[in-house]
């Protein structure tokens, strides 16, 4: 496999992994399982409600930086970094 093709494969794996977390933090914990999670409390917050109005957003921020960091590392590893 060419260098570029294997770089792309590694990148797709990274994106897929990040999108799983993205989906869990918002759609699963904030919507689909919100009712069940609401029986757990985080201070005055019900947990499902917290994920939908706070937790998901914090996760998104962390995730975007994680992705940027990993993707830059991939650029290095595969020698496709810009000058």
């Amino acid at each position: 496999m060419s260098k570029h093709a294997s770089y792309w494969k590694a990148n797709l794996r990274l994106v897929f992994g990040c999108l799983v977390v993205w989906f869990l933090a918002s759609f699963v914990f904030g919507i689909l399982l919100a009712e069940q999670l609401n029986s757990i409390r985080l201070g005055g917050y019900k947990l499902g409600f917290w994920f939908s109005q706070q937790g998901s957003i914090y996760t998104f921020v962390a995730l975007t930086f994680f992705y940027a960091w990993r993707a830059n590392k991939l650029d290095h590893e595969f020698g496709v970094r810009e000058e």
Binding site: Y7, V15, S26, G44, F49, F60, T64, Y67, D75, E82
Partner: protein, 577 residues
């Protein structure tokens, strides 16, 4: 000093600041500052992107919707932040690598043809004009309160100011002005929230205050108290009240997320960063600055609702006397956006869920953020600051969108397709006319907007989600997606979404032009029209896939182009505007 004078001063001072920075920046070095982001660190570029992004929908409207929908309002919070994750991972780095200036340009090149480019322009115009209607609603609300007139007059004045602002270049492209706008906006949003959170819970950090106990000595958590108060009056429980259904919320959130990644004015920012890795970092920083407002918004919403309920019902069973109603209440009555009716003639205002007995007959959701500091009895300078912040948010985004609309007409349609030999002067003229036309159309439709500001903007996101996002994504992630497939997908996606939206809201959002009303509302799996973009996108992807299977694959050089944009190395320098 009375509120109106103070508001003039604060609004005037912030505008002077923006103009001052624009002149200073221009005098220093012309060319550098037009390449937005060039030589500017990703942190500041992210801040400017955040100012660009957060509009009247985020600032003026969203917390008000959360105040009344409670948990159901979460769709806006997750949708308008989660979209950045998609943008950062699925689009921004690759579009930056490609290195052209507009979204239709990319679509035209990737799908090898003018027809694809024209179709992309049309989709963008439809989505952007809808977006501007939402801004107009927000601007109308802000001006009507600030000038103490009715909503329609406020809207007309707002239209005039938007036009002047946009023709002046909207002060866009000058990153430092946008950084100043962000600072004004976030300061104006956070200050009242800190005061109110401190007052209600003793915790100055709104994100924590929302999860804290009330400071009134009851020992109850704020959210529990709110749930209890609302349930007692027959309203839905704040923290669990889903928007129509779980499925509808899922689809709504998805629609906003992929719409975020399909709107031109945000994507454009990533065309202009110096390197591919800056595109990744800028998306992250933009999200940090957006999250600062978006994590405060739920606290603003819940606390505003709490204070509103407490004002109208100061003690259990003790309703507000008509004669005793506070000044802010009377001021908002003048705008026509707040109305009560003493139905039972007891000289008091009852606010309950039962429509027959409810006397708060109109509470426009879009007034909540602006009214919030007054309801909480904060000093006048805070109130004035919020008006200035709301106007900064609405005007900067409206101007940005209008520039995107007018440049796609003059640059993509006229110069790119229909009249390649057009002179620069004529091109500029055409863009001014397009801008005036778009303001007039959006302003007219803003007199009877299809929804509250954030709801209207959600419709715009749905339209972008169903047309542009799939075309861009397939253009990067599939080498075999061809012109026929992508175009059929865009047509079906936006067509089906427009059909559903117009059936509910009327053709071009003119309420008299509804059709098929016998089909009822939300008939497709209980999904509301604002959320339908995600369904449109599914149809778009499916159609594109099927059509591309039975038509000729894209030419060799296009496949090479796709391989090339996937790898950062060899990116050219940033495009200037």
């Amino acid at each position: 000093m009375d509120l109106q004078t103070l508001t003039y001063i604060v609004v005037g001072a912030t505008f002077a600041l923006y103009i001052g920075i624009a002149i200073w920046a221009r005098a220093k070095s012309t060319s550098d500052f037009y390449v937005a982001g060039k030589g500017i660190p990703p942190v500041l570029n992210g801040m400017a992107t955040a100012a660009d992004w957060m509009s009247a929908a985020s600032f003026i409207s969203m917390a008000g919707l959360i105040a009344f929908y409670g948990y159901g309002g979460s769709v806006f919070l997750m949708g308008w932040t989660g979209g950045y994750v998609l943008l950062a991972m699925l689009l921004a780095p690759y579009l930056r690598k490609y290195g052209k200036f507009t979204v239709p340009e990319f679509i035209g090149d990737r799908y090898y043809g003018r027809s694809a480019r024209i179709l992309a322009v049309l989709c963008l115009i439809i989505a952007s004009v809808t977006y501007v209607i939402g801004q107009m609603k927000g601007i109308g609300v802000a001006f009507s309160r600030f000038l103490e007139t009715d909503y329609d007059t406020g809207l007309y004045i707002g239209m005039g100011i938007v036009f002047i602002y946009a023709v002046m270049g909207g002060m866009k492209g000058i990153t430092y002005t946008q950084i100043a706008q962000y600072c004004v906006l976030i300061f104006a949003y956070t200050v009242p929230a800190v005061f109110i959170s401190m007052h209600l819970t003793g915790n100055p950090i709104p994100q924590l205050g929302l999860g804290s106990k009330m400071a009134d000595g009851s020992g109850m958590f704020l959210l529990d108290k709110l749930d209890e108060t609302l349930k007692g009056l027959g309203f839905a429980e704040y923290t669990t009240n889903a928007r129509l259904s779980t499925f509808n919320m899922f689809v709504y959130t998805m629609s906003l997320m992929i719409g975020t990644a399909g709107l031109p004015h945000v994507i454009m920012r990533f065309f202009t960063v110096p390197r591919v890795r800056d595109a990744r970092a800028s998306a992250g920083w933009a999200l940090v600055f957006i999250a600062l407002l978006y994590t405060v918004a739920p606290a603003v919403g819940a606390m505003a609702r709490m204070n509103l309920m407490d004002t109208i019902q100061p003690a259990p069973g003790q309703w507000l006397e008509v004669e005793q109603r506070p000044q802010w209440f009377k001021n908002w009555e003048k705008t026509g956006l707040l109305k009560f009716e003493d139905k039972n003639g007891d000289g008091r205002i009852q606010y309950v869920a039962d429509k027959e007995k409810n006397e708060m007959v109109k509470v426009d959701r879009d007034i909540m953020v602006l009214a919030n500091p007054e309801i909480a009895k904060l000093p006048n300078w805070v109130v004035a600051l919020v008006v200035a912040g709301g106007l900064a948010a609405a005007l900067s985004t409206a101007a940005g969108l209008l520039l995107a609309i007018s440049s796609s007409i003059s640059h993509d349609l006229l110069k790119g397709v229909f009249a390649p030999n057009i002179s620069e002067k004529a091109e500029l003229m055409a863009s001014r006319i397009a801008m005036a036309g778009a303001i007039a159309a959006a302003g007219y439709l803003g007199l009877h907007p299809p929804d509250f500001a954030a709801g209207t903007v959600a419709l715009a996101f749905g339209l972008a989600a169903s047309s542009i996002f799939p075309a861009l994504m397939m253009g990067i992630f599939s080498k075999t997606m061809n012109k026929q497939g992508a175009m059929a997908g865009m047509l079906v996606g936006i067509g089906i979404t427009l059909f559903y939206v117009f059936q509910h809201k009327g053709i071009f959002f003119i309420a008299d032009w509804k059709y098929l009303e016998s089909w009822g509302s939300n008939w497709f799996m209980g999904i509301e029209p604002n959320a339908f973009g995600a369904i449109g996108a599914v149809f778009n992807f499916a159609t594109a896939f099927l059509v591309s299977k039975v038509t000729a694959p894209p030419p060799e050089h296009i496949q090479h182009m796709v391989e090339d944009i996937r790898v950062p190395s060899g990116a050219g320098s940033a495009t200037g505007h």
